[in-house]
Each structure stands twice: as C-alpha cells, then as structure tokens.
C-alpha cells in the first residue's frame, strides 16, 4: 500500500478514492460540491475566476477545470467523480463525455462501445 494514496491501486486504469486522495482534493471537491446549489452555479458562471479563487483553488486546479481535464483532476488532484460531475450542471457536459475524456476517446468513439447508447446528459 502506498503511503501517499492509501491504496495498492492494483486495478489498471482505476483511481480508488481513498482518504489520502480525499484530503488532497478537499478544496477542489468542496468547490464542485458547492455547484449543487443554483445560486452558486449562477455565481460561478458569472465570474469563474473569482468563484474558484474563493475556494482557494490552485493555478493547476483552475487550469485543469478550464481544460475539462477530469482525468488529471481525479488521478493527480484527488478529485471525486461524484463531485466533479456537478460541473456539468454549469458546462452542460455529461458523464459520458467526462468518461470519454478519461479514456482518451471522443464521445462518439465511446458511445460505439456501449450496448444501448442512452441519452448521454447524465
């Protein structure tokens, strides 16, 4: 078990959300969690930079959020997919596109791997 992640991470392509990662991503996840509320979504949309600064996000975190780099936010930033998904309430981005980005595919490519491609905005 790694001291840094609190997990052996033996499943390839998988980032287990451990306490250590949760500690690292606390501000990032707190920011994303805040977007569950309509007034916060409006404030973020109106002035993203100020809103992110209010959550004391680092330049790296802010950059990855703007780039929609969910993969980096989860693997390196301690991001929790269940909180990051709430960014989609502002950007309109759904789970399938966050998944495709993590897999290094386009949404169209990803959808071809599915049995029944349901509407993808959740």
């Amino acid at each position: 078990m790694s001291k840094e992640t609190g997990h052996s991470d033996h499943i390839p392509g998988t980032t287990v959300f451990t306490g250590q990662r949760s500690a690292k991503g606390l501000q990032l996840n707190k920011f994303a969690y805040s977007l569950r509320l309509a007034e916060n979504r409006a404030a973020f949309e109106a002035d993203p930079e100020t809103y992110m600064n209010n959550y004391k996000l680092s330049d790296w975190e802010k950059q990855k959020i703007v780039e929609k780099d969910v993969k980096a936010l989860i693997e390196e930033g301690g991001g929790s997919i269940y909180m990051l998904i709430k960014l989609g309430g502002v950007t309109g981005e759904g789970l399938a596109s966050m998944g495709a980005q993590q897999r290094g595919e386009s949404v169209e490519e990803f959808m071809k791997t599915r049995n029944v491609p349901l509407k993808q905005n959740t």
Partner: protein
Amino acid sequence: MGKIVAGIGSSHIPSIGNAYDQNDQSPEWQPCWEGYKPAKAFLKEKGVTHAIVIYNDHGTDFFYDKCPTFAMGAADEYPIGDEGWGVRDLPPVKGDADFSWHLANSLIMDSEFDLTVCQEMVMDHGLLVPLPLLFDHDPEWTVKTVPLHINVLQHPLPTPNRIWKLGHALRKAVESYPEDARVAVVGTGGLSHQLNGTRFGHTNEGWDEEFLDKIEDDPEALIDIPHDIWMERGGAESVEMMMWLGMRGALTPDVNKIHRSYYMPMLTGMAVTVMEDAKAA
C-alpha cells in the same frame, strides 16, 4: 407490531430519474419500466406502509468534510435535493420520526449499531430514483420512508459483513416496534459500473447475474468479499452493490422469489429484485 414483508433490490442510476421525469417511453427504456411494474404491484398487494431505504448520498447532503459511515433520517419530512441540475418535481419524501427513533433506539441500544441520527436530511438520487417507481406519490407519497445512508464513496468503506449485520439489526428493530407497520426494506445501488480512469465504462454482466443469484439464494457467499475484489469484478464504483446486503440481511434466510429483471444498456447494470419475507407469506 412491526413486520418486514418484502425486500427490494434496485439500481439508482440518475438517468432513470431523468427518463422517468420526462416520461420517456422510447423502446430503450421499456426494459427498465417493465422491471419495476411487478415490484410496485407487489408492494401494493402486501399493504406496505413503511420503506427503509438503504442508499448512499452522492454529494447532495453529505460532503467529505464530515462523512458518516452510517446515517439514518429521523424526520416526518425530507426535502428533495438539488444535485446540480435543479430540483426534481416530486413531493417531499414523507417520513415517520417516531418509527425512526424507535429504530435508532433498538439499533444503538439492542444491537450496538451506533449510527448517526439526522433530524434534517436532504434526499439524493440514491433514494429518489427507485422510490417513485415503487410507490405512488401523486399528490403525496403513500409510503413513509426511513432513509438510511451508507458511505460507499470515500474509502475506508464499511465491510460487506458489517452491512449484512446491519440488516439483522434492522430486522430486530422492526420486529420490536409496538405499532403496526408493514415494512419493505429497499437496498439500492449498482450494479457493475466504473466512472473513473481509463477503465471508465467497465461493466460485467456475468458478475451482475451471479450477484443477483447469490442475493436471492446464498447471500452469505458475498459477505467476505474484499472491496478490491468487488472493484475488480464490477468496477470501482460498483462497491455500492454491498448495500443490497443490508436489505437481504433483514429478510428470512429463505425468501419467496417474486420478481427479478436485469438490463445493461450503457454504463451500469440496471436491476430490480423482489423478495417476499418467508414469515410474511
């Protein structure tokens, strides 16, 4: 007297809630809707008055700053949460604070299952996806609900064995309730899915079917499976399947199998099982 009459297992995939709200009757949703019809009919036939719903909050009310491993609602009403896309058009979930406090007393004092008791709790899709598919709710809910949250997001998670034992403790608590209550226990979550990493989209239909078999016939075969194995088989986020053991542990060892359906459209296995408690037949 309190009596457990039924156990329900159900996925709580958010897209089911969306499709339900939009009354999406397209062919790709029919297997899902068909799966719930016998479940709803059976609960009505059995005269269920109360539902104990074992689910996990996904950042609606709880956050990682304070993250209870087990938390139960004790209120007469629970508001519908906004998870980031607006509040669903559902009436506030009806609770029964007296029943909840009885359960809390029994769980904590009789079974030493000392969970967090919440007098205010905002409802999450973990509970709100299955509930409208199982019980009438227009203009208001016909069932009184006890929300029971388990942390399955931030490791360390409770073990499946602990969740199984929670089921036993719930049975003891329900059966010691002096008032009349006909209770369904609902275990939610899963089935196989993974939402993080390059393994995003991992599913495992064979394992899902095996899990559904074992939940009905041999649940104890599931209680010693380590988290790593759940994640390996069903995907990192499929650990929430463990919550079905809380439901199954509340039932008699043998159950009457009433209904089961399974559908794997896109990201997550959608399942519904209905079991009748042998003592309620």
